[in-house]
Point group: C2
Chain length 185, copies 2
Amino acid sequence: MSTTRADPASLDLMFPQELISLEVSALLPSDLQIRPLASTDYKRGHLDVLSVLSIVNDLGEVAWVNQFHAMRATPRAYFSIVILDKASDKIVGVGTVFIERKFLRGLGSVGHIEDIAVDKSQQGKKLGLRIIQALTHISENSGCYKTILNCSDANIPFYEKCGYVKKENEMAKYAPERVHNAPKL
Amino acid sequence: MSTTRADPASLDLMFPQELISLEVSALLPSDLQIRPLASTDYKRGHLDVLSVLSIVNDLGEVAWVNQFHAMRATPRAYFSIVILDKASDKIVGVGTVFIERKFLRGLGSVGHIEDIAVDKSQQGKKLGLRIIQALTHISENSGCYKTILNCSDANIPFYEKCGYVKKENEMAKYAPERVHNAPKL
C-alpha cells in the first residue's frame, strides 16, 4: 500500500482541496481521508458506493470521465466529495453539493446536497454526518444563503442532528418513457 | 401597444423559443404570451413577480443582467421562462427549471423546478399550471429521467394535478449569518 496514491496533490480534482473543512477532516478515523472527487475515481469504486443508493447503470470509465469533466467545466456548480480508505485506496463514502444561482435574495445562491452514500462496511463511523458537514461547509463558504436536501421520513432525525430542519415536501414526476427505471440505452 | 416589443425574435433570450411547448402556448389566454426569459426582462417587472414568492432584494438592472448572462453561459443548466401580458408588455408569471447532472442512472440528469410565481392580478387563469407544464416539457425533452420541486403542504394538491407525486421531505439549513433573512450587502 502506498500513501502517494491517496495524496490529493497528485490527483486531478474536481475542485481545490482547500474547500474541504479541516475540522471535518480531523474528525475522521485516521485510516480514512476526505477529498474532492478525482478524475481517476471511477477505478476506486465511486459507482460501487453510489449503487447502495439507487440504480447506477454503469456506462464505463470513458463516459464517467466525460461526465466528470462536464461537471468541472461548469463554473461554481458541482462539488463532489469522497471518503477514501487509505489502505485499500477504495472509496467508501460519496456526496455532492451543487450550487444553484437565483434571481431572488439579492441574486443569491442555494446549495443542493445530492446522492450521499456510505459503504455498508463503514457504518457506525459517522461518515454520513462528516459528508453532510463537509458539503454544508462548501455551500456556506461559497456564499449560499441556504443549503437544502431531500430525504425519506426515516432519515429526518439524522439530518436534524446535522443541523437541518424539515421545510417543505419534495414532489417528483418521472419522465414517461423511463418511469421508475434506468434509461434505455 | 406594439406587438414588436413582445416578439421573441427581437429579444436576447436565455434559450431558444423552440424549447417552449407549442401545446402549452396554445392553452394560454390570447392576451398572454409564454417565452424564455430575455436579457431586458428586468424592465418588464421580473423581480416584481418574484416578490410575491420570497425576499427579492433588488440589486439593480446591471447586477440582474450579469446574473442572466452567468446563468446562460452555463451549458444546459438554467431555463427561466416568463408569461407576458402583451398589452402592457409586463411579466405576470415566472418559473425556472435547472438541470443537474448526476453519476447515477447512466450519468442521468434531473430537472429541478424553482421559483414559480404568478402576479396576483392573474389568478384563476391556470398560469401556474401552464408554467409547470412548460418547465416539465423542457426538463423531459432535455433528457431528464425525472423532474422534482419542493412545495408546502397546501400546494400538494395543485402539483398532483400537474402530474407530480409526493416523494420525500425537503430539509433546509440557513447559513448562520443570514438566518431567514436577506443577505446583508
